[in-house]
Amino acid sequence: MTTSPVAAVPGMTDAALVLCLVLLLVSPLSVAGVALINAGLGRSRSAAQALLGNLAIIAVSAIVFAVAGASLTGFAGGTGLAFHVAGKPWNWVGGSPLLLGGLAGTPLQSQLGLLFAFVALSLVTLIPWGSGADRLRLHAGAAIAAVMALLVFPLLAHWVWGGGWLGQLGVNFSLGAGFLDPAGAGTIHLMGGLSALTVIWVAGPRRGKFPKEGFATAMPGHNAAYILFGCMVTLVGWLAFNLAGAMLWVHASLAALPVTAINTLLLASGSLCATYTVTRIRFGKPDASLCANGWLTGLVASSACAAVVTPGVALTVGVIAGICTPLLVEFLELAVTIDDPSGAIAVHAGGGLLGLLTAGLFAPQPGQLVAQMVGIGAIVGLMLPLLYVLFRALDRFVPFRVEPDGERIGMDLHELGGGAYPEFVIHRDESYR
């Protein structure tokens, strides 16, 4: 094992750096939108806990990442630890100082890359929180975020964005431009979806969700207005994040940015229209929360491919995403008994996979599809078992699941002592008969 310099990236002009900074300052709207959607898809008696949890998770993950995680992430042009196999360097972890030491002396482009990682981290840690809604303790949510910010996300972010082995697949093995994931379809969304799956496995389903007999109990979200307004907020944040990612990681020129933005919008629009049509055909009327899931799936897929495909391909992939999303949500709930209130596995893991494969198929460089498959293999084959072991161990020290009484009276009263809507009468839940 040796310490080796990480390959530097092409420099950006001053105008591009300023634009990238502005985009990154707008991009947390994507986090706000996801938080609103998560809160709306949960129950009314857990809404305050869900939103406070979102804030707590962002805060805890930012602190842990700044203290230690960022040093493992490193940055392009910095140093990293590498081992050599078959004469090729495999840079697997960053080697920057703790507590963001020496950050002020690094180039502005590297600092923007780190800011990008902070926004990405906020998003990836919110995804499992939404899936554990109505039964995951606040402490557990914060602990999960801390573990992800300390180890799992920094490692993957280094591999993809910090000059690690996945990003260097093109240089070392002639596989396209290396693993192509400019706005985190794999690093944020596939990883977030898999962490959501792991949290659901560890915490179990909500009480009454899968009764002894009959189908799964429908537990619809409590506020469609939150969900749909959250979708509009995510669009603004996603546009900014996709453009910033394209500038930082695929070195897109200013002239290429409008097409990337249009592709992002087309992916989301095609996906929403397809989900609207599918739910209209299946249920007789369009389903608001599934349409929101479809919209979000299109945005997630755009994270990988918006910068590399044509508008026609973007629209087609959006339609495919929109058709698959409601079917996958239904399959996961009814056939596989996964209780995922926010639909994170279908939206984030499914959309992330689709976006990564699309980027592999339509990127101009030869070998790109194999690079994408290696990246997907690393996230699914290595990160999922790692997350499972970490979360199982964490559950022993910080129990994920609230007591049955907490679930019955609601997370707001149980954990916070007051509800989000104190003037509402909390009605009896029919699923507890």
């Binding site: 196999v85 078959a86 090729k88 697949l169 093995f173 596989l175 496995w201 389903p205 899968f210 002894k212 007999e213 596989v336 008994t337 996964i338 030869p366 070998g367 599809l369 194999v370 498959m373 290696v374 997907i376 293999g377 690393a378 699914v380 084959g381 290595l382 999922l384 078992p385 499972y388």
Partner: protein, 59 residues
């Protein structure tokens, strides 16, 4: 079952990585990377089945 599936998944990943090192040609490399992903998918299916909630008389 659930743990067996989770153990199989890293095996699929290492198969993909081995393909990068062992096969310089594009076609066999792509085939073995695909096989690695298939092994991972198999492990995931086993893990998911192991975590399914018991239904009806099995409960």
């Amino acid at each position: 079952m659930k743990y067996a599936g989770l153990l199989v998944m890293p095996a699929g990943f290492f198969l993909s990585i081995a393909a990068l090192v062992l096969f310089p040609d594009a076609a066999p490399r792509a085939a073995f990377v695909f096989c690695g992903l298939a092994v991972e998918a198999l492990g995931l299916v086993v893990a998911v089945r192991g975590h399914m909630e018991p239904r009806g008389e099995d409960r």
